[in-house]
């Protein structure tokens, strides 16, 4: 499949991210409890995760591969080669976010043994398994454990059953919050697009059927961030979606028109606002632009060789649902 608009979106968005690299830098007081995590560690963690996915999805001679690899290394250096995670965990030993952010680095081979020893002890507590979370985030924790090389503390198939997506709800009930729950369920299930075959058949059919309707609505409302997350999900399914020949042709055509609309919403530097035409400052642009680069890269590379990463719980999930 060729997707010139998606390719253009991916490259422009990644150029924007590289151009704004220093805006992802952590402040000196990052461990101060008064420093908002949403403005510091969250953007840096998302930079690491999505650039790792872009690096993994692209061949070594692709410019995107180089840029993404460089950005993963930048993010790791920002954490003082992982020492920051140990500081964070010592300050908040039962918080899950340090390990959730660390997992992307661990998967990239960037590790901090002392942090992992402390995290391992925390993971062995009953408290860890009892932490109350949204079901899709619980699925994310289980993927985090796997990526960090820790024993898994719960069954992912059971966690999946409790998510919005796992219930296969009426597609007309889709709203923004359920949309984000859905996209993150798929990201955790497929390890951020690396393992499309980890999506159970019934979920894949469901998503393949309804994603076009949801994506269309998001783009019509100029919800670029959620729209791009849905496009990333569409590129993370085992098979192209449409079951009927009559609609397959139209779907391919509309895929490209979808990317053309996103290309049009990008500014000259490649930045994409989260919603509408909001001010294109870093805070309102960085996430949607990162997701656009990620989704568009998965789309252009979906015909690439099979992923190198083991899926999350392929056996129990495949066994549990067909």
């Amino acid at each position: 499949m060729t997707a010139p608009y998606a390719d253009e979106v991916a490259r422009a968005a990644l150029r924007w991210v590289r151009g704004h690299r220093d805006d992802f830098a952590l402040p000196a007081d990052v461990t101060d409890p008064r420093t908002p995590v949403d403005r510091t560690l969250k953007p840096l963690g998302e930079l690491a995760q999505l650039c790792l996915s872009i690096r993994r999805a692209t061949p070594p001679d692709d410019e995107r591969h180089h840029v993404a690899a460089e950005l993963v290394d930048f993010a790791w250096r920002q954490t003082d080669d992982g020492a920051l995670f140990l500081d964070l965990l010592r300050a908040e030993p039962f918080a899950t976010y340090p390990l959730e952010i660390y997992a992307a680095f661990a998967e990239a081979g960037l590790r901090h043994p002392e942090f992992e020893r402390l995290a391992g002890a925390v993971l062995r507590t009953r408290n860890w398994r009892a932490t109350e979370q949204d079901p899709n985030r619980r699925l994310g924790i289980l993927n985090t454990e796997r990526r960090g090389g820790f024993p898994r503390t719960a069954d992912p198939a059971e966690a999946l059953e409790r998510t919005w997506l796992g219930a296969l709800p009426e597609p007309w009930s889709f709203e923004r919050p359920s949309g984000y729950a859905l996209t993150h369920t798929v990201f955790h299930l497929t390890n951020w697009g690396a393992a499309p075959h980890a999506v159970p058949d019934d979920l894949a059919r469901y998503l393949g059927t309804w994603l076009p309707a949801w994506t269309d609505g998001c783009l019509e409302d100029q919800q670029w961030d959620l729209g791009c997350e849905l496009l990333a999900v569409a590129a993370s399914l085992p098979e192209p979606s449409d079951p009927t020949p009559e609609t397959a042709g139209a779907a391919r055509e509309s895929d490209e028109s979808v990317w053309a609309r996103i290309a049009e919403a990008q500014d000259e530097q490649g930045g994409l606002p989260e919603v509408g035409g909001r001010p294109r400052d870093f805070t309102h642009c960085y996430h949607s632009t990162l997701v656009a680069a990620f989704a568009a890269t998965l789309t252009t590379e979906r015909t690439a060789p099979p992923p190198r990463t083991a899926p999350l719980a392929t056996e129990p999930l495949d066994g549990a649902r067909t």
């Binding site: 007309w172 309804w210 309707a213 949801w214 609505g217 009927t244």
Partner: protein, 235 residues
């Protein structure tokens, strides 16, 4: 029921739609007894609702008074589809002529000769969003036992129509959602995960009892109930 505050035609259409729904739901006794307004506004309202004015007879098999059918014929004659009219206009008029023929028997009405189907090639290449919109406008053609090229085309794209229903609900376009649901009630191959039954209830209640929405939604339910009954009898 009067529709105060609405443009006169809109109000007349809503009144007429309300009457059709009452007839459908009330066992048909209203359908035969209420005369159609045969002034200009009344006839225009009939033209807007099209063949659905006769729905108590064509869908539910209730009898209609000759006066009512005659007024419907007057409206059909008064508002023909002009040459070169939009396909939905031509098809809507075709639906009215076909409904009259269904009720009047096989003899040709010299004033309304059978000119055949208008052609549905415009539908084939439409993306699912526009496809659903056009079919929803032509909801009156979604009837069991009413073959047409439009129905044949709809039967080829149930998934597209289901996506269009989802889109319409999300846009709070209840009339389009109900029109699409009526086709979905008729078709095979609709994904089970759509949840058409709860979707119909949702559309009906969210539309604040808009009679035009109610007309499509009740027609959809009627079609669906009959299908389920047929399937039950076959099983």
């Amino acid at each position: 029921m009067s529709q105060s505050g609405l443009p006169p035609l809109t109000g007349a259409v809503r009144d007429l739609a309300h009457e059709v729904v009452s007839a459908l739901r009330g066992g048909g006794h209203l359908a035969g007894s209420t005369a159609l307004a045969d002034d200009e506004l009344g006839l225009a309202a009939v033209r807007v609702l099209g063949a659905d004015v006769l729905l108590p007879a064509t869908l539910a098999g209730y009898s209609l008074s000759p006066e009512r059918v005659a007024a419907f014929r007057t409206a059909t004659l008064a508002f023909p589809a002009a040459p070169g009219a939009a396909p939905v206009t031509a098809w809507s008029h075709w639906g009215m002529r076909r409904a009259l023929r269904t009720l009047s028997g096989p003899d040709e009405d010299p004033a309304l000769p059978d000119t055949g189907e208008p052609g549905a090639s415009w539908l084939h290449s439409l993306p699912w969003q526009r496809f659903t919109h056009q079919l929803a406008v032509l909801g009156a053609l979604a009837l069991p036992g009413l073959p047409s090229e439009v129905a044949t085309t709809a039967a080829l794209r149930p998934v597209d129509l289901a996506r269009g229903f989802v889109r319409a609900v999300r846009r709070r376009d209840w009339l389009q959602a109900a029109g699409a649901a009526r086709w979905l009630a008729l078709l095979d191959g609709v994904p089970d995960t759509l949840g058409l039954d709860t979707g119909l209830d949702f559309v009906l209640l969210m539309s604040d009892d808009d009679p035009r929405v109610a007309l499509q939604a009740h027609a959809a339910r009627h079609i669906r109930d009959e299908r389920l009954l047929d399937e039950g009898l076959r099983a």
